[in-house]
């Protein structure tokens, strides 16, 4: 469904992606892991067309993402951003139903609010949260609202950018469980990027490890503990010693 072939992307002299290849099947939950600065977020943004790759092709359902009409293409996606990326100037319900209040998917205001409250309920937030502003919410609640926004228009593909960063372990577990439930329930294709191994084990069907601008290893989540790949072993066990250079 989503295929990246030999994707390159540089920022000045910094070569972030150096021939990344990745394939994500329909309804599959792929988790991309890798150290900080290895290009995980760049990879997601290239798929969405937020960043244009220097070389290589990215296709969704065999169609080049850069050659499609933007609005219908983006309407298929939902995305949970690392920091939530909620709009400060809008109350929670308008954040959740943002896509339903304007553009091609526009619905009557009452209906959009009702859908927003329904989606907030799906992520464990009550209707009392609907009229609050993002600044009035805790980090965990902001993540949940971001998750509600990502699923508000029932997208077929959902991206999660570091969904548990900045959360305590219990809240991280709650968000992981919610993501897994929602992806299974909606039958959506999911791509998650994270450093958090508990997220990997909770969310993933398959795992891809990005290192040196390339996908170094990919396989089912059940195989990550005996992959035989020294890079993956070092990463999942959090060892300072190994082939991945660490700064002490």
């Amino acid at each position: 469904m989503i295929a990246l072939k030999d994707v390159h992307k540089s920022f000045g002299s910094n070569q972030v992606l150096r021939g990344a290849n990745l394939s994500v099947g329909r309804g599959e939950s792929m988790v991309v892991i890798g150290g900080s600065g290895t290009g995980k977020s760049v990879l997601l943004k290239c798929i969405l067309g937020l960043i244009r790759p220097d070389a290589g092709t990215i296709t969704v359902d065999d169609r080049d993402v850069l050659k499609q009409a933007r609005d219908p293409f983006l309407a298929r996606f939902g995305m949970l951003f690392q920091g939530g990326a909620l709009f400060d100037s809008l109350p929670v319900w308008q954040n959740v139903s943002f896509r339903l209040l304007r553009g091609a998917l526009k619905r009557p205001r009452d209906e959009a609010r009702s859908i927003a409250i329904d989606k907030l309920g799906r992520v464990g937030l009550g209707p009392d949260v609907a009229d609050l502003y993002p600044a009035e919410l805790s980090g965990g609640m902001q993540k949940r609202v971001g998750l509600a926004r990502a699923i508000a228009a029932d997208p077929g593909i959902i991206f999660f950018d570091e969904p548990t960063t900045g959360l305590d372990p219990i809240m991280a577990g709650v968000i992981n469980a919610l993501i897994r439930e929602i992806v299974v329930e909606m039958g959506a294709t999911a791509v998650t990027i994270t450093h958090d191994m508990s997220s990997v084990r909770a969310i993933a069907d398959k795992v891809a490890m990005l290192h040196g601008g390339k996908v170094r290893w990919t396989g089912p989540v059940t195989e990550i503990d005996h992959s035989g790949d020294p890079y993956l072993d070092q990463f999942i066990h959090g060892r300072a010693d190994g082939p991945i250079a660490s700064v002490r």
Partner: protein
């Protein structure tokens, strides 16, 4: 050759910056002809740029008008021309000080606010979120603010002109001892239509510049708090300099004999 290269680099950088701003402005304005439009965003921008700027514009204008009356009176006394206070206050406020001071106050208040808001949205990925929600940032953020600035600032300039003249009137009829009826009569009779429409036209241009610079620097902000700070500072500097440059050009166009 090194000298030429050293001279050429900043010139090329300046031309490139002008090109980038021109493309940014053309892209934003082109959305006027391409729905969807966002009337709520426009209304919010109109209130922020126009209505909420009224107090600072009024205070700036009233003090400037009063000070101008005092200066003209004391300066005019050197060649027995104290009587021209109403006329000079009127023409000074309407042709120059009204539009320029309002433009600079808008640059300080609105440009900085727009740049900081949009830059913060950028560093917190809210701009990326807009795109993933099928919403064009130029259409949703830039166009409403630029249109609101272009429409609201001429009205602010009109208000500033009137309040500035009132400041001169209060000083003129108070400490300076002018007759109120004669002060008003001299003011109204002296002003001509081109004085007024040129003032409002300057306001429209300054409003466009001020809001465009806020949006441009915000959208092109660097990362982190430093990026937001630099964008805010750069936007105000650019807006202030461009407003003063545009004022000179417009004054030359309108009033050069």
């Amino acid at each position: 050759m090194r000298f030429l290269a050293a001279l050429g680099r900043p010139v090329l950088a300046l031309l490139a910056a002008i090109g980038r701003v021109a493309i940014f402005a053309a892209d934003a304005v082109s959305h006027l002809a391409r729905p969807p439009w966002y009337p709520r965003e426009f209304a919010v921008a109109l209130v922020n740029v126009g209505y909420l700027s009224l107090p600072v514009v009024a205070l700036t204008a009233v003090f400037t008008g009063g000070a101008l009356a005092l200066q003209i009176y004391s300066g005019g006394a050197r060649f027995s021309a104290e009587a021209v206070v109403p006329q000079i206050v009127a023409i000074g406020m309407v042709r120059e000080l009204g539009p320029v001071l309002v433009g600079l106050m808008i640059a300080a208040r609105v440009t900085s606010s727009i740049a900081a808001e949009i830059a913060t949205m950028k560093v917190t990925e809210q701009i990326d979120a807009l795109v993933t929600l099928s919403t064009h940032p130029a259409k949703y953020l830039t166009l409403p603010r630029v249109v609101a600035g272009t429409l609201a600032v001429p009205l602010l300039v009109g208000v500033g002109d009137i309040i500035g003249i009132m400041g001169g009137f209060l000083v003129g009829t108070g400490p300076l001892g002018f007759n109120a009826a004669s002060y008003l009569h001299n003011t109204i009779n002296f002003l001509e239509a081109p004085d007024i429409w040129s003032s409002l036209a300057k306001g429209a241009v300054f409003g466009f510049i001020a809001t465009l610079m806020g949006c441009y620097f915000g959208m092109n902000s660097g990362r982190g708090a430093q990026g937001v700070g630099s964008a805010t500072k750069g936007s105000v500097e650019a807006a202030a300099v461009l407003i003063l440059a545009a004022n000179f050009i417009l004054t030359s166009l309108f009033f050069s004999a």
